[in-house]
């Protein structure tokens, strides 16, 4: 009897792609294009402003996207599974507020942080419940949670930032310390990115996220429990918001109820510029982080060039539109070729 399945170990029959082929494939990749644009910006800016290529500015830029980058990771995975989360900014702020209030109530900061992250996971799980069990759309559920979470932040703090001056130095170390010359925040960020990038590309667990986002019904017809997948990606995204919130708290030494307004747009923009598709099934962590870096470099450049804050928003929005438009045409051409 012939066997068709995976047990049989057939000899590898792959064509070697060839160096030219590999190069062409690499150049076609979204990430390479983004790196080129970022490098170009670096070169232009290093001539345009004497402050750009300084250690201080580099560090500030890295700090600016590193914490948000953790949220970008969660958002990218959620987008790949076919979802979206508008509540990330509010939930990040809520994580700060919950941990801050618990700390002021006498909990030690580590316990307070753990409880706060668990609370964020619970919020994600609740959203996942409404999406997968009740059958509502991610967009509307997370919109509601965005408003509710912000409301809780303001209610809990009376709208004023909580000063947490008594946070012990070993806790503040997370947000403010350095390992050698590298800030701890960057270390955490790099570890999170590498871990999730690896898992997303290599593990069966996250492969199911791609299947689900690519075609939910086909995934179900492949024995994948798609509702479970979506539930988990929704929960994970909120959980990573919780982690980001705690890092922000350690960095600022305070809990700010109005923090992170508009963050969702930045985060979604980064993921989409990095190649994630709003209709699911496509995206990489590496690309999304490059998207976040690009947005951060642009913001920093505009600030250094003394461009008005209002113009900065207009330019950031235009970049998003341009990136998505270019992507659309590249995809169209690719489809026509085959």
């Amino acid at each position: 009897m012939r066997t068709y399945g995976a047990e049989e170990t057939g000899a590898a029959q792959r064509k070697p792609a060839g160096i030219a082929g590999a190069l062409r494939q690499m150049l076609g990749m979204r990430e390479v294009g983004l790196i080129a644009i970022i490098l170009l910006l670096f070169i232009v800016m290093s001539f345009a402003s004497p402050y750009f290529l300084t250690w201080v500015n580099m560090r500030a830029m890295a700090m600016a996207f590193a914490v948000e980058g953790i949220v970008v990771v969660g958002m990218t995975i959620l987008l790949i599974s076919g979802g979206i989360d508008l509540s990330v900014g509010s939930v990040t702020a809520l994580a700060m507020v919950i941990a801050g209030l618990l700390f002021l109530a006498g909990f030690d900061p580590w316990t307070a942080s753990a409880i706060s992250i668990l609370a964020c996971l619970a919020i994600g799980a609740a959203m996942g419940f409404f999406v997968t069990r009740i059958g509502l759309h991610h967009f509307i559920v997370s919109l509601a949670v965005m408003v509710i979470a912000r409301g809780i932040c303001l209610l809990g703090t009376g709208g004023r930032p909580l000063g947490l001056y008594t946070l012990p130095p070993e806790f503040k170390f997370i947000g403010q310390g350095s390992l050698g010359v590298v800030p701890v925040v960057i270390v955490i960020f790099v570890v999170v990115v590498i871990a999730f990038d690896f898992m997303l590309r290599k593990t069966t667990m996250f492969r199911k996220v791609f299947y689900t986002g690519s075609n939910e019904k086909a995934a179900a017809y492949s024995g994948i429990r798609t509702k479970k997948v979506v539930f988990l990606t929704t929960t994970l995204c909120s959980g990573l918001c919780g982690v980001a919130g705690i890092i922000y708290m350690a960095r600022f030494g305070s809990a700010q109820p109005t923090f992170g307004m508009g963050m969702e747009l930045n985060v979604i923009a980064a993921a989409v510029i990095g190649g994630a598709s709003l209709s699911g099934g496509v995206g990489t962590i590496f690309g999304a982080i490059l998207g976040a870096i690009l947005l951060s470099v642009v913001s920093s450049s505009l600030a250094l060039l003394d461009v008005s804050v209002y113009w900065q928003d207009i330019i950031r929005g235009s970049i998003l539109l341009a990136a998505v438009t270019i992507d659309h045409f590249i995809n169209k051409r690719r489809k026509q070729r085959v």
């Binding site: 009897m1 492969r207 075609n215 017809y221 492949s222 024995g223």
Partner: protein, 510 residues
């Protein structure tokens, strides 16, 4: 009458070419259409049929070539222009608004050219009713999302009929229709033709061409091959012209009497799912290909999906090789080796934007992963390459997206996905829908080979000639119940239709 018609050309194409990037979809194609004829266009997938029709409808602009309507040179720059010239196209894929009523869908074109600000719902409903009247009894106020696929297809046709067109193009309209609905459609087509409307009919099915059309034009690889009067040609000639070679035997040989086995692979007893089906009982034996026939909506797919726990709440027993199964969800079913190939390949059979390799391993991730749940891409690609070879899959690179493949090859990827888990039983729901003749014969051969290897094969199909040609035994379902079984000499379209619908049976005996 006929003689005057023969020189009366409504539509004439000459030297039409079109390329998409490096792919030459059409090379200097000629075509002419007489007034009041039903003209079949045949060709394998990728032969250029749909491209040509999209050019006639103004969706695609040709690179070169001329289009004449009533001997007048025209330029069809958009579907709106085509409409003004009296050309109506019913696409293969349904393009209706699901949340809008049937009537509004049918009159959508009329709405877009209406000068009135307000919708005249009564007029729209009356018009829709008139257009639907002869086709099917769908209420014009029903929402399209509540209709079955075949009803939606009929609404599409009704929509084209309201346009008062002189040229009606139907692109594989019967793919989703039952035989009975198709018969009604052919009656209407003939009536329209008698009224002087010219119909271009695109199909894969030889029987339909020879029963209903006046002339046939064959395309192959973007080139015009021939146009013939139906009376002077045989189905074999058309198939040979389509594939460029003679396909000697469309179906593989069936089981010989001495090869039959009494060993039962899958035994189903009294399977019931409240409203959908009742007391379904059958045995799937080793070596045979079992067919499941019935009208669309009779519950064929539901039974298959119920057995492997994809949907529904079922009661009753399922035994695999004599052992009772307790399946909770589809994953359990896969782990026991019972898999289901979906009828809607693009909708839920395949991940279009993922690689061929990732598609094949969707059922069998655990088999190509290490103990720690890390996918071994080498093993994954080897699996896909090996299964692809055994199915004669044609592709450039195993890592390319499945969307780059032709329909027949996509279906092979979907089958490879099933085979990756070494299944014991495979349910195949419309395994050759939208697949060209060559690939279809290949898929049939593959199924026969699997059956010979001891895999239980159950095929669901709306195409009776396929069931009759391929299966050793056919069960017929009507309204959720198995009404009979045909095998050997009794396996005829008439017998199956009789069992599938009492009405059709009465008509046959009357």
């Amino acid at each position: 009458m006929k003689t005057t018609m023969e020189n009366d050309l409504v539509l004439k194409l000459s030297g039409v070419s079109k390329s998409f990037g490096p792919v030459q979809a059409l090379r200097g194609v000629d075509f002419d259409l007489r007034r009041g004829e039903i003209h079949a266009i045949a060709g394998e997938n990728g032969a250029g049929k749909s491209t040509l029709m999209n050019i006639v409808d103004g969706i695609i602009r040709p690179d070169s070539g001329e289009i004449y309507i009533d001997d007048e040179l025209v330029e069809i720059t958009s579907p709106a222009v085509a409409q003004r010239l009296g050309i109506g196209l019913v696409h293969q894929e349904i393009a209706l608004c699901p949340d809008v009523s049937v009537a509004e869908n049918i009159c959508m074109c009329a709405t877009s050219i209406s000068r009135s600000l307000l919708m005249d719902f009564r007029a729209i409903e009356a018009k829709a009713k008139a257009a639907l009247g002869t086709l099917c009894d769908v209420p014009p106020t029903a929402l399209v999302r509540d209709l079955s696929i075949s009803q939606q297809q009929l609404v599409e046709i009704a929509k084209a009929l309201t346009l008062d067109c002189r040229v009606l193009i139907l692109d594989e309209p019967t793919a989703a229709l039952t035989e009975r609905e198709a018969k009604i459609l052919f009656g209407i087509m003939r009536r329209l033709a008698d009224q002087g409307i010219s119909i271009i009919y695109i199909t894969h099915r030889m029987a339909e061409i020879f029963e209903n059309c006046d002339r046939v034009t064959v395309f192959r690889d973007g080139q015009y091959v021939m146009t013939r009067d139906i009376r002077e040609i045989t189905p074999g000639d058309v198939v040979a012209a389509m594939v460029g070679r003679v396909i000697d035997n469309l179906y593989p040989a069936k089981l010989a009497a001495h090869e039959r086995s009494d060993e039962v692979i899958l035994a189903v007893r009294n399977l019931t799912d409240r409203a959908r089906y009742r007391n379904v009982t059958f045995d799937l034996k080793k070596g045979e290909i079992l067919g499941l026939a019935g009208l669309i909506g009779a519950g064929r797919s539901e039974i298959a999906r119920g057995i492997c726990r994809l949907e529904g709440e079922t009661s009753g027993e399922v035994e695999l090789y004599g052992r009772a199964l307790r399946l909770r969800h589809y994953r359990d079913s896969i782990d026991h080796g019972i898999v289901y190939l979906s009828e809607d390949r693009k909708g839920d059979g395949i991940f279009l934007d993922m690689s061929i390799a990732a598609n094949v391993s969707a059922l069998s991730l655990e088999l190509v992963a290490t103990r720690f749940g890390i996918v071994d891409e080498r093993r994954e690609q080897d699996l896909a390459t090996r299964l692809g070879r055994s199915l004669n899959l044609r592709y450039g690179d195993i890592r390319q997206a499945a969307s780059a493949l032709s329909g027949g090859n996509q279906q092979k990827v979907a089958i490879a996905k099933m085979l990756s888990v070494n299944p014991k039983v495979i349910f195949l729901d419309e395994p050759t829908r939208g697949v060209d003749v060559g690939a279809k014969a290949e898929i049939h051969r593959i199924l026969r080979a699997l059956a010979q290897d001891g895999v239980g094969i159950l095929v669901i199909s709306s195409e009776l000639p396929e069931l009759i040609g391929l299966c050793d035994r056919v069960l017929v379902v009507r309204e959720g119940e198995i009404t009979g079984e045909v095998a050997g000499d009794r396996m005829t379209e008439n017998n199956i239709m009789y069992l599938a619908s009492i009405e059709a049976g009465r008509a046959a005996t009357a």
